[in-house]
Structure formats: structure tokens, C-alpha cells
């Protein structure tokens, strides 16, 4: 197997993790990873040099954005699914975080997850999202502010956060 393909294969577990957090649904996440891999194979000849992993994150991020766009044309309500058997931790914090992520705008959610879950640098995230670093930082800031407000609001001894 070529070095290129080997690097793709090595990235699959991380892609699944990112997709799971991005979609909060196991099946949908693996569908998107599968599409990402098919596209990567198809575009193998397009890839000159650079970071295979960042490129895969780019494909996946775009595919999910397209998916949400086509979903939004249909006026259906999607319940928050919590079918992740690997859920850990006795407190409800990790369940809350899924709901908090759910409330974010897609670009903010992707930026936050790429940084805190996937460990990409701001520069890499800027490339994945195709925006300047300043935009990445403001997405990150908004995501963190909104999650904080959500989590603070869920606690019993709360302050009103606007």
C-alpha cells in the first residue's frame, strides 16, 4: 500500500472521533467518514503534498456542512440521539456537553472540535475551514461563550447569563 494510503488508513480512528462529535450520531458519523474515504480515493491524484490528515478533515467538514444544508431544506425535527455506548464518566457533564455542542452553529462547532478534540493548530483549522485565522478565533470564542452559558444555566445554583 502506498504511503499516501497508509496515512489515510491511520487517520480513520481520529476521523470517526471527529465525525461522531460533529454529528452526535454513530451511524451518520460513519456514513460521513465512509464518504470522506471514497472521496479521498477518488482524489488521490489531486493530492500533491502536504498534510493528509488536514486534507481529510477538510473533506469531512465540507461533507457535513453539505449534509446539514440539505437537511435544513426539509422541515424535520431531529431529536438529539444519545446512542453512544462508549459514554464515560459518572456525572452528567458529558451528556450535557453533547447538548451544548448541538446548540452551536456548525462552523463554530467544527472549529472548537478541531482544536480541542483533534488537536489541530489555529492555522490548520483556518486551512480546513478556508477562512482567516481571525475568523477561527472568533468562532472559537463564540463557541466557548455559548457552551459556558449553556452549562452554567444547567447548574442548580445559577446565575442568569445573557
Amino acid at each position: 500500500m502506498s504511503d499516501f494510503r497508509q496515512r489515510i488508513e491511520e487517520a480513520i480512528p481520529a476521523l470517526r472521533r471527529y465525525a461522531r462529535a460533529l454529528t452526535r450520531d454513530t451511524e451518520t458519523a460513519d456514513d460521513i467518514v465512509q464518504d470522506t474515504l471514497v472521496r479521498a480515493l477518488r482524489s488521490e491524484h489531486l493530492f500533491h503534498d502536504g498534510d493528509v490528515r488536514a486534507w481529510l478533515y477538510t473533506i469531512l467538514t465540507n461533507l457535513n456542512r453539505n449534509r446539514l444544508r440539505s437537511l435544513s431544506r426539509r422541515p424535520t425535527l431531529t431529536p438529539i440521539k444519545d446512542n453512544d455506548a462508549a459514554m464515560t464518566g459518572p456525572d452528567t457533564g458529558s451528556r450535557d456537553i453533547a447538548r451544548a455542542l448541538d446548540d452551536l452553529a456548525e462552523d463554530q462547532r467544527a472549529a472548537l472540535l478541531l482544536v480541542v478534540l483533534e488537536g489541530l493548530t489555529y492555522r490548520e483549522v483556518a486551512e480546513v475551514q478556508g477562512v482567516p485565522i481571525g475568523t477561527v478565533m472568533s468562532r472559537l470564542a463564540r463557541a466557548r461563550m455559548q457552551i459556558k452559558a449553556y452549562l452554567d444555566g444547567e447548574r442548580p445554583a445559577l446565575r442568569r447569563v445573557k
Binding site: 472521533r17 460513519d30 480515493l41 477538510t58 457533564g93 472559537l140 466557548r144 452549562l151
Partner: protein, 262 residues
């Protein structure tokens, strides 16, 4: 301390949490946090969020990868399909080539300028090849110098394959096509999520023009003439995006050809 250098921005707090802060600013941020309880609480909250996200989803990377994501198997299947499609594409080119010939003949009598035929042919070629996922080009984009040299030779003038990486587009490759005035060069570009654009180029006797727009069914094109070569940049009918790409191609072709003096 009111020293300006000591004021810490929110961006710096994020960078601090994410390990993106330059080493020489760490001390200043830490000193700031020691004396600003509210910012320290925010930083702690952001760290807690990251922990929660990692606790919730980090484990996914350790799960067994399901069979349908077996990459070696996908790659084998991909190869089989590629061979089948290449055969189908060869037939499609043969059939469509015949159809395109009739279209051109029909337009010939009523067109005093080459350009309408150029854009018609270019859009025809775009529609034909853009759907071709596995065999869209004759020479792949990683052989750019060879591709450009070959097409320049066949067209009879130096043609360019502009670099559109800045716009997120990679060169898929190119092919030689029949055009209204002889051989035409055809370059295909692809964006990260699979959207495709093509640049079609051949000889014309028309005068130099600026960018012009034309649209078909779901596709559209910008076209122009530069030094006896007509260029047609085709893509999905999203005018703004198409214009950005056409402008970038136009600028590159313009500046790169000038030192050569035609």
C-alpha cells in the same frame, strides 16, 4: 500595572488555553490570571469544556473500526470500479463527440465571431467531463509541466494551467479536445468537496476582450480573449464564485504571458 504590554486580550487567553501562545507571553498571561479572577474563571471553564468533550468523544478513536470502513477493501473496490468506468467513458466520449460535431455545425453559419462557438463547446465539454469521476482527464495534474507542454504544442501557442490553489482548487489534469478553430486545451480543477471547474482554451481571430459572462442550464462560464487565445472558464452557475475563479485565472494568464511578448 497599566503598562500596555501587560494587558491581555481575549484572543491571548484562548491561545493560552490551546497552547498557541508564544512562549514569551506565557508569563504575562499567568501573571494577569493571578490577579484577574474573572478571566481565570473563564479560562478554567474553557479547560473544563475541553475535558468534557474529550471524555465524551475521545474514546471513539479506540473503538474497533467497523468493517464498512475497511480501507484496504475500499481501495480494492475503487480500483475495480475505476477500470469499468474507464471503459464506459471511452464509449461516452465517442458518442458525445459525434453529437458535439453536429451542434458546432449548426452554429457555424450564424456566428460571425468565434466566441459563441467557443463557449458552447466549452460548456459542452464541461458537462461531459465534469460528471466523470474516475476518468476525467488524459494527463493527471501531477504531471503539470508535461501536460502544459503537450497542449501548448498541439494548440500551437503557449497555453497556461493557472494555479488556483489559493481558491481551494487543485488541478485534476487536462486533455486535448477538438475546438471551433482546431485543437483546444482543456484543464479541469476540483475543490475539496468535489465541485469542478474547467478552463477551455484555443485559437481565435477575435479581438482582445475583458471577462464576459454567459450561462446555460445549470452551468455558467466566463470567457475572454488574450493574445489570440480564447479562454472559457466553466462551472456551476454560482456567479460570484465563478467570477473569482475566472478573475484569478485571467490575472495569471495575463501577467505570465506578458514577458514572453506573445
Amino acid at each position: 500595572m497599566n503598562d500596555r504590554d501587560q494587558i491581555i486580550s481575549e484572543d491571548e487567553l484562548h491561545a493560552y488555553v490551546d497552547g498557541e501562545l508564544p512562549a514569551d507571553r506565557r508569563g504575562a498571561v499567568e501573571a494577569w490570571l493571578a490577579s484577574h479572577a474573572e478571566d481565570a474563571a473563564r479560562v478554567a471553564a474553557w479547560r473544563k469544556q475541553a475535558e468534557l468533550i474529550q471524555a465524551r468523544y475521545g474514546g471513539v478513536a479506540n473503538e474497533k473500526v467497523p468493517g464498512r470502513l475497511n480501507f484496504a477493501r475500499m481501495a480494492r473496490r475503487h480500483r475495480m470500479r475505476w477500470i469499468a468506468t474507464a471503459a464506459a467513458a471511452a464509449i461516452a466520449v465517442f458518442v458525445a463527440g459525434g453529437l458535439a460535431g453536429w451542434t458546432v455545425r449548426g452554429l457555424e453559419t450564424q456566428a460571425p465571431s468565434d466566441l459563441p462557438r467557443f463557449t458552447a463547446d466549452a460548456l459542452e465539454a464541461y458537462r461531459l467531463y465534469v460528471v466523470e469521476v474516475r476518468h476525467p482527464v488524459e494527463v493527471p495534474g501531477d504531471q503539470r509541466p508535461h501536460l502544459v507542454e503537450w497542449l501548448s504544442k498541439r494548440v500551437g501557442s503557449p497555453v497556461r494551467a493557472p494555479e488556483l490553489d489559493r481558491l481551494g482548487l487543485k488541478l485534476v489534469g487536462g486533455r486535448l479536445l477538438p475546438g471551433p478553430t482546431g485543437a483546444s486545451a482543456f484543464f479541469m480543477y476540483e475543490g475539496p468537496s468535489g465541485e469542478r471547474f474547467t478552463l477551455y482554451c484555443g485559437h481565435t481571430s477575435d479581438q482582445q476582450t475583458a471577462l464576459r459572462y454567459t450561462s446555460g442550464n445549470q452551468n455558467a462560464a466566463y470567457y475572454w480573449v488574450d493574445r489570440n487565445l480564447a479562454y472559457v472558464l466553466s462551472g456551476p452557475a454560482e456567479r460570484d464564485k465563478l467570477r473569482d475563479i475566472a478573475q484569478a485565472a485571467y490575472d495569471q494568464i495575463d501577467t505570465r504571458s506578458s514577458p514572453r511578448g506573445g
